[in-house]
Protein backbone atom coordinates (compact mmCIF):
# COMPACT_ATOMS: atom_id res chain seq x y z
CA UNK A 1 0.00 0.00 0.00
CA UNK A 2 1.31 3.43 -0.90
CA UNK A 3 2.19 5.72 1.97
CA UNK A 4 -0.24 8.54 2.79
CA UNK A 5 0.72 11.89 1.31
CA UNK A 6 1.19 15.16 3.15
CA UNK A 7 1.39 18.60 1.54
CA UNK A 8 2.20 21.86 3.30
CA UNK A 9 2.11 25.49 2.33
CA UNK A 10 2.97 28.87 3.73
CA UNK A 11 0.82 31.94 3.13
CA UNK A 12 0.78 35.16 5.18
CA UNK A 13 2.92 34.11 8.13
CA UNK A 14 6.58 33.94 9.13
CA UNK A 15 7.48 30.30 8.37
CA UNK A 16 7.75 29.74 12.12
CA UNK A 17 5.10 27.02 11.96
CA UNK A 18 7.17 25.12 9.39
CA UNK A 19 10.23 25.58 11.63
CA UNK A 20 8.22 24.12 14.50
CA UNK A 21 7.25 21.13 12.34
CA UNK A 22 10.98 20.51 11.85
CA UNK A 23 11.35 20.78 15.64
CA UNK A 24 9.97 17.26 15.96
CA UNK A 25 13.71 16.55 15.64
CA UNK A 26 14.70 12.95 14.90
CA UNK A 27 11.03 11.97 14.71
CA UNK A 28 11.17 13.53 11.21
CA UNK A 29 12.88 10.24 10.24
CA UNK A 30 9.89 8.31 11.61
CA UNK A 31 7.54 10.69 9.85
CA UNK A 32 9.05 10.11 6.42
CA UNK A 33 8.73 6.36 7.05
CA UNK A 34 5.02 6.99 7.56
CA UNK A 35 4.27 9.52 4.83
CA UNK A 36 5.43 10.94 1.52
CA UNK A 37 5.66 14.70 1.23
CA UNK A 38 3.94 16.15 -1.81
CA UNK A 39 3.87 19.89 -2.61
CA UNK A 40 5.71 21.60 0.25
CA UNK A 41 8.40 24.20 0.89
CA UNK A 42 10.24 21.49 2.86
CA UNK A 43 11.09 19.49 -0.28
CA UNK A 44 10.53 22.42 -2.68
CA UNK A 45 7.98 20.51 -4.78
CA UNK A 46 5.98 23.30 -6.44
CA UNK A 47 3.01 21.41 -7.89
CA UNK A 48 0.66 18.75 -6.60
CA UNK A 49 1.44 15.34 -8.10
CA UNK A 50 -2.10 14.16 -7.32
CA UNK A 51 -4.59 13.86 -4.46
CA UNK A 52 -3.12 14.25 -0.97
CA UNK A 53 -4.32 12.87 2.38
CA UNK A 54 -3.37 15.69 4.74
CA UNK A 55 -2.75 19.34 3.82
CA UNK A 56 -1.12 21.66 6.34
CA UNK A 57 -1.72 25.40 5.98
CA UNK A 58 0.45 27.99 7.67
CA UNK A 59 -0.47 31.67 7.55
CA UNK A 60 -3.54 33.80 6.95
CA UNK A 61 -5.08 34.94 3.68
CA UNK A 62 -4.00 38.42 2.63
CA UNK A 63 -3.52 38.23 -1.16
CA UNK A 64 -5.22 36.99 -4.29
CA UNK A 65 -2.51 34.33 -4.57
CA UNK A 66 -3.19 33.09 -1.01
CA UNK A 67 -6.83 32.55 -1.98
CA UNK A 68 -5.82 30.54 -5.06
CA UNK A 69 -3.33 28.40 -3.14
CA UNK A 70 -5.81 27.75 -0.34
CA UNK A 71 -8.57 26.75 -2.77
CA UNK A 72 -6.12 24.48 -4.59
CA UNK A 73 -5.21 22.81 -1.27
CA UNK A 74 -8.89 22.32 -0.49
CA UNK A 75 -9.33 20.70 -3.90
CA UNK A 76 -6.38 18.31 -3.57
CA UNK A 77 -6.40 17.47 0.16
CA UNK A 78 -8.76 15.07 1.89
CA UNK A 79 -8.08 16.62 5.30
CA UNK A 80 -7.07 20.25 5.67
CA UNK A 81 -5.35 21.39 8.88
CA UNK A 82 -4.83 25.09 9.63
CA UNK A 83 -1.80 25.59 11.86
CA UNK A 84 -0.73 28.61 13.90
CA UNK A 85 -2.38 31.85 14.93
CA UNK A 86 -2.08 33.52 11.49
CA UNK A 87 -4.01 30.70 9.81
CA UNK A 88 -6.53 30.55 12.65
CA UNK A 89 -7.18 34.25 13.34
CA UNK A 90 -5.07 36.28 10.89
CA UNK A 91 -2.50 36.73 13.66
CA UNK A 92 0.02 39.55 13.66
CA UNK A 93 -0.52 40.42 9.95
CA UNK A 94 -4.18 41.09 10.85
CA UNK A 95 -3.03 44.20 12.74
CA UNK A 96 -3.45 45.94 9.40
CA UNK A 97 -7.17 45.11 9.45
CA UNK A 98 -7.81 48.15 11.65
CA UNK A 99 -6.39 50.43 8.93
CA UNK A 100 -7.96 50.80 5.45
CA UNK A 101 -5.77 49.14 2.78
CA UNK A 102 -5.14 52.41 0.91
CA UNK A 103 -3.82 54.14 4.04
CA UNK A 104 -1.74 51.10 4.89
CA UNK A 105 -0.05 50.92 1.48
CA UNK A 106 0.47 54.70 1.33
CA UNK A 107 2.13 54.66 4.73
CA UNK A 108 4.48 51.87 3.65
CA UNK A 109 5.40 53.09 0.17
CA UNK A 110 4.72 56.84 0.01
CA UNK A 111 4.59 58.53 3.42
CA UNK A 112 6.89 56.42 5.58
CA UNK A 113 9.90 58.05 7.31
CA UNK A 114 12.51 56.31 5.21
CA UNK A 115 10.74 56.51 1.85
CA UNK A 116 12.63 58.35 -0.92
CA UNK A 117 10.80 58.86 -4.25
CA UNK A 118 8.13 56.44 -3.16
CA UNK A 119 5.99 54.46 -5.57
CA UNK A 120 3.26 51.89 -4.88
CA UNK A 121 4.41 48.60 -6.46
CA UNK A 122 2.12 47.56 -9.29
CA UNK A 123 4.02 44.85 -11.18
CA UNK A 124 1.68 42.22 -12.66
CA UNK A 125 3.85 39.52 -10.99
CA UNK A 126 3.04 40.84 -7.50
CA UNK A 127 -0.17 39.34 -6.09
CA UNK A 128 -2.85 41.90 -5.32
CA UNK A 129 -3.55 42.55 -1.65
CA UNK A 130 -6.97 41.79 -0.21
CA UNK A 131 -8.86 44.44 1.74
CA UNK A 132 -7.83 42.70 4.95
CA UNK A 133 -6.20 39.55 6.31
CA UNK A 134 -8.64 36.65 6.69
CA UNK A 135 -8.38 33.48 8.74
CA UNK A 136 -8.30 30.37 6.50
CA UNK A 137 -11.67 29.08 7.68
CA UNK A 138 -13.38 32.23 6.38
CA UNK A 139 -12.22 31.27 2.85
CA UNK A 140 -12.46 27.45 2.66
CA UNK A 141 -13.65 24.67 4.95
CA UNK A 142 -10.94 23.68 7.41
CA UNK A 143 -11.18 20.26 9.06
CA UNK A 144 -8.78 20.68 11.99
CA UNK A 145 -7.08 23.56 13.78
CA UNK A 146 -3.72 23.48 15.52
CA UNK A 147 -3.34 26.66 17.57
CA UNK A 148 -0.06 28.16 18.75
CA UNK A 149 2.53 30.69 17.68
CA UNK A 150 3.91 28.35 16.56
CA UNK A 151 2.11 25.13 17.54
CA UNK A 152 4.55 23.07 19.65
CA UNK A 153 6.40 20.29 17.81
CA UNK A 154 4.69 17.77 20.09
CA UNK A 155 1.30 19.09 19.01
CA UNK A 156 2.24 18.48 15.36
CA UNK A 157 3.41 15.00 16.20
CA UNK A 158 0.29 14.14 18.21
CA UNK A 159 -2.11 15.54 15.59
CA UNK A 160 -0.34 14.12 12.52
CA UNK A 161 0.10 10.61 13.92
CA UNK A 162 -3.56 10.56 15.02
CA UNK A 163 -4.80 11.69 11.59
CA UNK A 164 -2.57 9.20 9.77
CA UNK A 165 -3.84 6.38 11.96
CA UNK A 166 -7.42 7.46 11.37
CA UNK A 167 -8.00 8.61 14.96
CA UNK A 168 -9.50 11.91 16.11
CA UNK A 169 -6.62 14.09 17.34
CA UNK A 170 -6.90 14.88 21.03
CA UNK A 171 -4.34 17.26 22.40
CA UNK A 172 -3.56 17.47 26.12
CA UNK A 173 -4.09 20.81 27.89
CA UNK A 174 -0.46 21.92 27.78
CA UNK A 175 -0.24 21.59 23.98
CA UNK A 176 -3.09 24.00 23.27
CA UNK A 177 -1.70 27.53 23.32
CA UNK A 178 -2.47 30.71 21.40
CA UNK A 179 1.08 32.07 21.81
Amino acid sequence: MAKPKVATTHMTGCFGCHMSLLDIDERIVDLIQLVDFDKSPINDIKKFTGPVDVGIIEGGVSTQENVEVLRMFRKYCKILVAVGECALTGGIPSLRNTVPLKECVEEAYLKGFTVVDGVIPNDPDIPLLLDRVYPCHEVVKIDYFLPGCPPPADAYWAALTALLEGREPELPYELIKYD
Binding site: L88, E138, F145, C149, Y178
Partner: protein, 233 residues
Protein backbone atom coordinates in the same frame (compact mmCIF):
# COMPACT_ATOMS: atom_id res chain seq x y z
CA UNK B 1 -28.95 32.15 61.39
CA UNK B 2 -25.15 31.89 61.01
CA UNK B 3 -24.86 28.74 58.95
CA UNK B 4 -26.62 28.41 55.64
CA UNK B 5 -26.89 25.14 53.73
CA UNK B 6 -26.90 25.36 49.93
CA UNK B 7 -26.45 22.78 47.20
CA UNK B 8 -23.98 23.35 44.36
CA UNK B 9 -23.97 20.73 41.59
CA UNK B 10 -25.64 18.24 43.91
CA UNK B 11 -23.09 18.72 46.68
CA UNK B 12 -24.21 20.16 50.01
CA UNK B 13 -22.09 23.15 51.00
CA UNK B 14 -22.14 25.38 54.04
CA UNK B 15 -22.17 29.14 53.66
CA UNK B 16 -21.71 31.81 56.32
CA UNK B 17 -24.24 34.61 56.62
CA UNK B 18 -23.41 37.41 54.18
CA UNK B 19 -21.32 35.24 51.86
CA UNK B 20 -21.99 35.29 48.14
CA UNK B 21 -22.40 32.10 46.13
CA UNK B 22 -18.91 32.68 44.69
CA UNK B 23 -17.28 33.02 48.11
CA UNK B 24 -19.10 29.93 49.38
CA UNK B 25 -18.03 27.89 46.37
CA UNK B 26 -14.37 28.93 46.60
CA UNK B 27 -14.30 28.08 50.32
CA UNK B 28 -15.73 24.66 49.46
CA UNK B 29 -13.19 24.00 46.70
CA UNK B 30 -15.72 24.40 43.89
CA UNK B 31 -14.56 26.48 40.94
CA UNK B 32 -17.14 28.76 39.38
CA UNK B 33 -15.40 30.27 36.33
CA UNK B 34 -15.10 34.05 36.63
CA UNK B 35 -13.35 36.96 34.97
CA UNK B 36 -14.29 40.31 36.52
CA UNK B 37 -14.47 38.87 40.05
CA UNK B 38 -11.26 39.21 42.03
CA UNK B 39 -11.04 38.05 45.63
CA UNK B 40 -9.41 41.23 46.90
CA UNK B 41 -12.01 43.54 45.37
CA UNK B 42 -15.72 44.17 45.83
CA UNK B 43 -17.67 42.18 43.21
CA UNK B 44 -18.74 44.01 40.05
CA UNK B 45 -21.09 41.62 38.28
CA UNK B 46 -19.93 42.90 34.87
CA UNK B 47 -18.71 39.93 32.84
CA UNK B 48 -21.46 37.34 33.53
CA UNK B 49 -18.96 34.47 33.15
CA UNK B 50 -19.83 33.34 36.69
CA UNK B 51 -23.53 33.04 35.88
CA UNK B 52 -25.06 29.98 37.57
CA UNK B 53 -28.62 28.75 37.83
CA UNK B 54 -30.07 29.56 41.26
CA UNK B 55 -33.20 27.44 41.65
CA UNK B 56 -33.32 27.39 37.85
CA UNK B 57 -32.83 31.16 37.31
CA UNK B 58 -29.60 32.66 35.96
CA UNK B 59 -27.74 34.86 38.48
CA UNK B 60 -24.16 36.12 38.69
CA UNK B 61 -22.64 34.15 41.55
CA UNK B 62 -20.15 36.88 42.49
CA UNK B 63 -22.93 39.28 43.52
CA UNK B 64 -25.71 36.91 44.62
CA UNK B 65 -25.84 36.18 48.36
CA UNK B 66 -26.18 32.57 49.46
CA UNK B 67 -29.51 31.76 51.09
CA UNK B 68 -30.81 28.70 52.91
CA UNK B 69 -31.93 25.87 50.66
CA UNK B 70 -30.64 27.28 47.36
CA UNK B 71 -30.07 24.69 44.65
CA UNK B 72 -27.33 25.86 42.28
CA UNK B 73 -26.26 24.48 38.92
CA UNK B 74 -22.75 25.47 37.95
CA UNK B 75 -20.96 22.77 35.99
CA UNK B 76 -23.45 21.97 33.21
CA UNK B 77 -22.89 21.66 29.44
CA UNK B 78 -25.35 24.53 28.80
CA UNK B 79 -23.56 26.94 31.17
CA UNK B 80 -20.19 25.91 29.78
CA UNK B 81 -21.46 26.74 26.30
CA UNK B 82 -22.79 30.15 27.48
CA UNK B 83 -19.48 30.94 29.15
CA UNK B 84 -17.46 29.94 26.08
CA UNK B 85 -19.70 32.23 24.01
CA UNK B 86 -19.00 35.18 26.32
CA UNK B 87 -15.25 34.57 26.10
CA UNK B 88 -15.43 34.21 22.30
CA UNK B 89 -17.31 37.49 22.01
CA UNK B 90 -14.71 39.23 24.18
CA UNK B 91 -12.00 37.88 21.88
CA UNK B 92 -13.59 39.11 18.65
CA UNK B 93 -14.74 42.49 20.02
CA UNK B 94 -11.23 43.39 21.10
CA UNK B 95 -7.97 42.89 19.27
CA UNK B 96 -6.53 40.05 21.30
CA UNK B 97 -3.43 38.95 19.43
CA UNK B 98 -1.87 36.58 21.94
CA UNK B 99 1.46 36.00 20.13
CA UNK B 100 2.86 39.42 21.02
CA UNK B 101 0.98 40.22 24.23
CA UNK B 102 3.00 40.67 27.44
CA UNK B 103 0.28 38.90 29.38
CA UNK B 104 0.49 35.66 27.35
CA UNK B 105 0.48 32.58 29.55
CA UNK B 106 -0.62 34.64 32.57
CA UNK B 107 -3.80 36.05 31.00
CA UNK B 108 -7.12 35.08 32.56
CA UNK B 109 -9.07 35.63 29.33
CA UNK B 110 -6.74 33.26 27.49
CA UNK B 111 -6.84 30.78 30.38
CA UNK B 112 -10.65 30.75 30.44
CA UNK B 113 -10.71 30.14 26.68
CA UNK B 114 -8.33 27.20 27.17
CA UNK B 115 -10.47 25.83 29.98
CA UNK B 116 -13.65 26.13 27.90
CA UNK B 117 -12.00 24.39 24.94
CA UNK B 118 -11.93 27.30 22.51
CA UNK B 119 -9.50 26.51 19.69
CA UNK B 120 -10.39 29.52 17.56
CA UNK B 121 -13.34 31.94 17.86
CA UNK B 122 -16.26 30.83 15.70
CA UNK B 123 -17.36 34.44 15.24
CA UNK B 124 -15.60 36.88 12.91
CA UNK B 125 -13.24 39.47 14.43
CA UNK B 126 -14.49 43.08 14.42
CA UNK B 127 -10.99 44.59 14.08
CA UNK B 128 -11.94 47.91 15.63
CA UNK B 129 -9.26 50.58 15.58
CA UNK B 130 -8.30 51.38 19.17
CA UNK B 131 -5.41 53.60 20.31
CA UNK B 132 -2.79 52.65 22.89
CA UNK B 133 -1.86 55.16 25.63
CA UNK B 134 1.80 54.64 26.55
CA UNK B 135 2.44 58.16 27.86
CA UNK B 136 2.96 57.08 31.47
CA UNK B 137 6.62 56.29 32.20
CA UNK B 138 5.89 53.01 34.01
CA UNK B 139 2.47 51.74 32.92
CA UNK B 140 0.56 51.59 29.63
CA UNK B 141 -3.10 51.09 28.84
CA UNK B 142 -3.97 49.21 25.66
CA UNK B 143 -7.75 49.18 25.29
CA UNK B 144 -7.44 46.70 22.38
CA UNK B 145 -7.19 44.06 25.10
CA UNK B 146 -9.73 45.52 27.53
CA UNK B 147 -12.63 43.25 28.51
CA UNK B 148 -14.45 45.96 30.54
CA UNK B 149 -14.24 43.94 33.74
CA UNK B 150 -13.83 47.12 35.78
CA UNK B 151 -11.20 45.63 38.09
CA UNK B 152 -8.92 48.66 37.56
CA UNK B 153 -11.82 50.96 38.47
CA UNK B 154 -12.59 49.12 41.71
CA UNK B 155 -8.91 48.71 42.64
CA UNK B 156 -8.11 52.38 42.05
CA UNK B 157 -11.20 53.56 43.92
CA UNK B 158 -11.27 51.11 46.85
CA UNK B 159 -7.66 50.01 47.35
CA UNK B 160 -5.51 52.85 46.01
CA UNK B 161 -7.99 55.60 46.91
CA UNK B 162 -7.25 57.44 43.68
CA UNK B 163 -10.19 56.98 41.29
CA UNK B 164 -7.93 57.00 38.24
CA UNK B 165 -10.29 54.93 36.07
CA UNK B 166 -14.00 54.90 35.27
CA UNK B 167 -16.44 53.63 32.66
CA UNK B 168 -17.73 55.88 29.90
CA UNK B 169 -20.19 55.21 27.07
CA UNK B 170 -22.77 52.47 26.66
CA UNK B 171 -22.96 49.20 24.71
CA UNK B 172 -20.33 48.82 22.01
CA UNK B 173 -19.06 52.34 22.80
CA UNK B 174 -18.33 51.52 26.43
CA UNK B 175 -14.70 51.97 27.38
CA UNK B 176 -12.37 52.70 30.27
CA UNK B 177 -11.98 56.44 30.81
CA UNK B 178 -9.26 58.28 32.69
CA UNK B 179 -9.83 60.79 35.45
CA UNK B 180 -8.13 63.56 33.49
CA UNK B 181 -8.62 65.55 30.28
CA UNK B 182 -5.13 64.44 29.30
CA UNK B 183 -3.40 61.08 29.03
CA UNK B 184 -2.41 58.31 31.44
CA UNK B 185 0.74 60.25 32.40
CA UNK B 186 -1.51 63.08 33.71
CA UNK B 187 -3.22 60.80 36.23
CA UNK B 188 -2.03 59.87 39.72
CA UNK B 189 -1.47 56.24 38.68
CA UNK B 190 1.71 54.68 40.02
CA UNK B 191 3.24 51.36 38.95
CA UNK B 192 2.98 50.14 42.57
CA UNK B 193 -0.80 50.71 42.62
CA UNK B 194 -3.17 47.78 42.83
CA UNK B 195 -4.90 49.13 39.71
CA UNK B 196 -1.68 48.76 37.69
CA UNK B 197 -1.41 45.03 38.29
CA UNK B 198 -5.00 43.80 38.70
CA UNK B 199 -5.93 43.64 34.99
CA UNK B 200 -6.86 40.06 33.97
CA UNK B 201 -5.64 40.67 30.40
CA UNK B 202 -2.80 42.67 28.88
CA UNK B 203 -4.77 45.92 28.87
CA UNK B 204 -3.08 47.65 31.81
CA UNK B 205 0.50 46.51 32.01
CA UNK B 206 3.50 47.64 34.02
CA UNK B 207 6.32 48.39 31.59
CA UNK B 208 9.64 46.54 31.36
CA UNK B 209 8.51 43.34 33.09
CA UNK B 210 6.83 41.52 30.17
CA UNK B 211 7.94 38.04 29.07
CA UNK B 212 9.99 37.62 32.28
CA UNK B 213 8.73 34.05 32.81
CA UNK B 214 9.68 31.60 30.05
CA UNK B 215 7.17 29.58 28.02
CA UNK B 216 6.32 26.43 29.95
CA UNK B 217 6.61 28.06 33.40
CA UNK B 218 3.89 30.70 33.13
CA UNK B 219 0.82 30.72 35.34
CA UNK B 220 -1.53 28.74 33.08
CA UNK B 221 0.97 26.70 31.04
CA UNK B 222 0.55 23.38 32.80
CA UNK B 223 -2.81 23.47 34.53
CA UNK B 224 -6.15 25.11 33.69
CA UNK B 225 -7.34 28.21 35.51
CA UNK B 226 -9.37 27.21 38.57
CA UNK B 227 -7.18 24.17 39.37
CA UNK B 228 -5.80 25.98 42.43
CA UNK B 229 -9.34 26.33 43.84
CA UNK B 230 -10.26 22.73 43.03
CA UNK B 231 -7.04 21.42 44.58
CA UNK B 232 -7.34 23.47 47.78
CA UNK B 233 -9.93 21.06 49.16
Amino acid sequence: MDKIAIIIDGKEVEAKAGQTIMETAIAAGIYIPHLCYQEELAPGGHCRVCTVLVNGRPQSSCTHPAAEGMVIDNDTPELLEERRRIIEMLFVEGNHICPFCEKQGNCELQALAYRFGMIVPTLPYLHRKIEVDATHPDVFIDRNRCVLCGRCIRASRDVDGKNVFGFEGRGPQKSIALNTKGALSDTQLDAADKAASICPTGSIVVKRVGYAIPYGKRKFDKEPIGSEIEKAK
